[in-house]
Symmetry: D2
Subunit: 410 residues, 4 copies
Amino acid sequence: MQFQYDARTEELREALLDFMGTHVHPAEAAFHQQLERLENPWAWDSAPVMGELRAEACRRGLWNLFLPGEEGAGLTNLQYAALAEISGRSLHLAPPAMNCAAPDTGNMEVLALVGTEQQKKQWLEPLLAGEIRSAFAMTEPAVASSDATNIETSIVRDGDEYVLNGRKWWITGAMNPNAKIFIVMGKTDPTADRHRQQSMILVERDTPGFEIHRGMTVYGYDDREHGGHAELSFDNVRVPAANLLGAEGDGFAIAQARLGPGRIHHCMRAIGTAERAIELLCARADERVAFGKPLAEQGVIRDWIAESRVRIEQLRLLVLKTAWLMDTVGNKGAHAEIQAIKIATPSTVEWILDKAIQVHGAGGLSQDFPLASMIAGIRTLRFADGPDEVHKNALARVELRRQAGSRTKH
Amino acid sequence: MQFQYDARTEELREALLDFMGTHVHPAEAAFHQQLERLENPWAWDSAPVMGELRAEACRRGLWNLFLPGEEGAGLTNLQYAALAEISGRSLHLAPPAMNCAAPDTGNMEVLALVGTEQQKKQWLEPLLAGEIRSAFAMTEPAVASSDATNIETSIVRDGDEYVLNGRKWWITGAMNPNAKIFIVMGKTDPTADRHRQQSMILVERDTPGFEIHRGMTVYGYDDREHGGHAELSFDNVRVPAANLLGAEGDGFAIAQARLGPGRIHHCMRAIGTAERAIELLCARADERVAFGKPLAEQGVIRDWIAESRVRIEQLRLLVLKTAWLMDTVGNKGAHAEIQAIKIATPSTVEWILDKAIQVHGAGGLSQDFPLASMIAGIRTLRFADGPDEVHKNALARVELRRQAGSRTKH
Amino acid sequence: MQFQYDARTEELREALLDFMGTHVHPAEAAFHQQLERLENPWAWDSAPVMGELRAEACRRGLWNLFLPGEEGAGLTNLQYAALAEISGRSLHLAPPAMNCAAPDTGNMEVLALVGTEQQKKQWLEPLLAGEIRSAFAMTEPAVASSDATNIETSIVRDGDEYVLNGRKWWITGAMNPNAKIFIVMGKTDPTADRHRQQSMILVERDTPGFEIHRGMTVYGYDDREHGGHAELSFDNVRVPAANLLGAEGDGFAIAQARLGPGRIHHCMRAIGTAERAIELLCARADERVAFGKPLAEQGVIRDWIAESRVRIEQLRLLVLKTAWLMDTVGNKGAHAEIQAIKIATPSTVEWILDKAIQVHGAGGLSQDFPLASMIAGIRTLRFADGPDEVHKNALARVELRRQAGSRTKH
Amino acid sequence: MQFQYDARTEELREALLDFMGTHVHPAEAAFHQQLERLENPWAWDSAPVMGELRAEACRRGLWNLFLPGEEGAGLTNLQYAALAEISGRSLHLAPPAMNCAAPDTGNMEVLALVGTEQQKKQWLEPLLAGEIRSAFAMTEPAVASSDATNIETSIVRDGDEYVLNGRKWWITGAMNPNAKIFIVMGKTDPTADRHRQQSMILVERDTPGFEIHRGMTVYGYDDREHGGHAELSFDNVRVPAANLLGAEGDGFAIAQARLGPGRIHHCMRAIGTAERAIELLCARADERVAFGKPLAEQGVIRDWIAESRVRIEQLRLLVLKTAWLMDTVGNKGAHAEIQAIKIATPSTVEWILDKAIQVHGAGGLSQDFPLASMIAGIRTLRFADGPDEVHKNALARVELRRQAGSRTKH
């Protein structure tokens, strides 16, 4: 057991930290101002400063680092995790600047994993080159999204085509007109085994019958910084049969494969967000004077700082261990840990953000600091891939089974 | 000791509940739609449906109920508290429909209490008639607002006029162009005793040098439903000396007097908000099925429901007792309780809202339910009139002193 | 609605507070010393100082105040609640000194309510006179005690006698040899309706076949101060048929009737315990200096003090309202509130005690302060009459039903 | 970074787990029964079963594993940490069986580190051989023990002797008559620098003027299983000057050196205790039926199980990382982490134990399960080496300083 990042990771961390300090953080204010003035408010990748950042990240070799294997940077989950954390310190800018933002990352992984040569050429290449955006359409308004087998969207074969009918919502990035390609999850065979009913298929943005209705808000944010969260519908949408990802019935398995690395990325970015919040909290506590002394000398605020540090240190180790397990024993072997970090991360980070806001006074809730927007983003993680409560229930079942097994052995 | 509302309260509660059921709740959707289409998005009182509601409330005698004494409905704090709770079930509509919305309520109280005949005629009458709106400008960006003695805005006598200089923010309602009159807190004599330095003065919206800069957001919401929260500045603003409220140096005392009833109103409305959230939570839990049974049969969700009920019952009793104390022994005698409800209310209600959101899934965070907007509003209460931490510190000091006194006696 | 105790209550409170100050608190140390030296360590009522206190309480008219109606002091639940709180400040001395200690109180209530003339003469009179003690045997080791219908002890009619077989534990007070009479709950007809299977019967201590095995400990305490918690068994124990309380099948109903007032007493005494803890906490915080200033000036400790005050005020009001409901609409009408106080009280008071201990340092855990023993006692309340979780589940069901009903109405 | 124990650790873990399964756990009941029958109830090492366990552990090479360097097993902190966890599963038996119980471990470390040849021969050797016990006397009743510089016991040179005067309490193990040697911390020069005033000196049990007064209780436990916690006094106690450990003024530094490894041991044993509690919780939840289904199917209990697993996994990683830091950068470099684990461990483990108790019903509080005794032991850790609050304050100061430093750099 040892707790030091390897040399490759340290090197990349240093490179990324330099990029953050010299380019990303200085661009934050400008990006948000430019967003306000965009013709299409959802087309965040049209903001000039974002284009410059992306070009610079590419030049510095900080591009597509999330992608394992030959098509990508070849980093392990553990190596990339350390970088994902850093990018989470400027969540609206750093991940997209590095072409490492969800949902494109997961979509590229899927295409790299199961895409045909034609699919890769047509969609993976422009995504890797950062020329287009994409979306992943799974969640549906009518059913509890915590159970992927509930999906009601239908994908029916008709000659050389598939016909889609259904409704989705919370499809992140989809309001951005540059999101040209959608991976859509639906059922090709509702009578098959529970986990073989689903398939995934590629749908182009401008396909007839495919409509994007509105952006959902989170608290009061429309999240235009990453293309919003759309409600959309498929009304007899026809796509070529060649657009299917893998075989019919592979949908659930692909979704599971997509999940693991995504969970690591989300959690590590959230930890980066928490670290940024601790920074802001400490800076504010040092500088703000009330009742004759800096807030930093108030015992209650010190308590928050200590708790924040103690909690985030523990959480980071668990996420890193999970990444290491995925690298060494695979997603399946890391299953319980992947659930554990999904449970632990949002509540821990939300707690820290709440305290950072409190130290900032009412300003902390406003547009003058990034904290309010951060907490909105983190709050959604308590639902992402199903509410925490579902995951706790499942994790407990695993634990009970494990303990029962070990009792039998003795 | 007895725990039943008196006959007058029961009668008014019934009348108000009827108004809520037949007019207010049915108008909620329309109000928010009309707000979107207003020429000036901040002029919520121009929304047609609001006009109709106000006319109806007036017709029904549900108008200005907050105001004690002859100028108002003559209700005690305890009697009005029960009504404030009900109005909190539809926070954006019911209080303004009844001309019982902050900050107008507190401003009318101040004018009724210390206004000259001329001030009353010019400002209190149109406010009571619901013809204009008002704002209360105390909080400043540069100093910790938890301590009213920190105020930096200056109010300097110059002949028959006072000259104001300073900057304020989080001035609720001020973005609304119909907010015609501002009560502004500043210092007339920075060398006087700590609590005699401040004065309050009336400033008309269109006075030269008085500028309204921007609306602050809360979790992404601009709160246009009640006129936003403005940042504004006074640059050599000149007002007639007759605009002073009370005498020079009375500012702190007036602020204190204004605080008590406002605290009761805020807390009771927040309890109404929590009750609405519990309703929504239970309805959703009954109707939403996951893993083969309604959420209402999940133990964890039952735990939340029970905790919500147990906490809100306790909280309501404490707020009602505080109102009763204000009625019987006055604001001073109720001082510790007024602090206690300020501490207890926001965290209790925020907890309940968080659970209600969680039961609604991601939709609970969106525009499709009122819960996300509710939690943003409640979150601000953890700062209102100073952060909870300051109030806890003060309450503890009172408790320590009381205990020390009682030790000495023995 | 009004929040003042009535004149009779105030008068009795004053009398009781005087008794506490002049007699009870001064006797605390001596009582515990005398307990150590008793021949039978469980016979707490043989400690000389306890005899003196009881005589004095009797002389002052502070005797049997818990008992309503003609046989007792005729106080309402609300009136007695205020006194129960005060007695909770010295839990080991005050309630027994006033002949108001569980389980005797509940047993006397049962006898007063359903006892025959003969039963009253034989058992209620000496209990009211304080000449003997009693116990209440319901909980069983083999089954979840949260459900009274689970009871397995059998009570079988055989001629003029009933024959008892079964095992009980956590029978408070039963280790005291002066506990001469036991009210035992068992099943007379396991085939009857769920709530008509149970009966209660009186069993004398020295009846053949009735054995007392051991005292259970709570966090290492044997609770000899109130006669311990015994495990006991009935092996073909024969008692006269005239010992039955009420009719066959009345057991469950009697248990329910016994529950309501007992819950009020427990909760109010717990609140008194919490108030004592807050006193100790404040005194210690004022007097103990660390890092150059009294603990009372540490922000974290102030936070604990404020939270303690805010929580206990809310809790007290809820318990008092419940007592008032019992007085005005009866146990049934107060059902939800009786559950609510069972849920709210232990966790609130345990939290306060934990903080009081923490302020005392390691000494707070030891025999040098009453806090450790207090927290052990309070901890058991999270199980008493079933674990909190069961009560929360039931309360949630009530709430869901109520909300569903109110939805239908609209 | 990698998260696997090394081969040596795995080998020792396997050996220890075998010893636990075949010898330690089976002996638990007997040990507690034998303790009850000891002539001197504090002489736990006289219990026959303990002698047998110690002989067996020795035979198996599971002896003195805690001690680094040539005198011990030469394990790193990280390697030993994994074993300490396992021993914590049977806290009263395993650590003493392996001669790895506090306070002997810390005392042997001190003797190995700074002892003279003579001191080692006279005291370290019999301690390593397990022939005697020892105690460490630092905490004092009159002063806040969170600050070692507060110590009031005096150690004054007088010719060839030192003379001790002072009072100590909470001296663990000291009630055991076989605790033959005490390391006593006192002040040799109250006028020196703050951290050079203290010295440590060896005092034999039977030295005139050295008196042991009483055992302190924790909740209701006297902790005789590890020799209790004594209050003791030194009244002109004279010891040879050669008994001094290191030089005059070294006391504080020695205390600090002793602290790091002890913290790791405590925390890892506490984690083992928590794992044992989770085992008991799961077993009970599977087996106990209420309301028609096993507790294991109740959502709230599942929530506790999942939370327990998620929290303990995070905590373990932080403690292991701290051990690794101590091995690689030393105690100083690991300072913040040593504080962090002191803060995180007790509250996490206490929470888990509380839930395990709750699942066991009232029995969980009693002598029938080890849980109540476990929670008492863990509760003391919130005070050990100063209350958590002091450590949080210090950790926050470190964080604030670190953040300020990093702000300056940019």
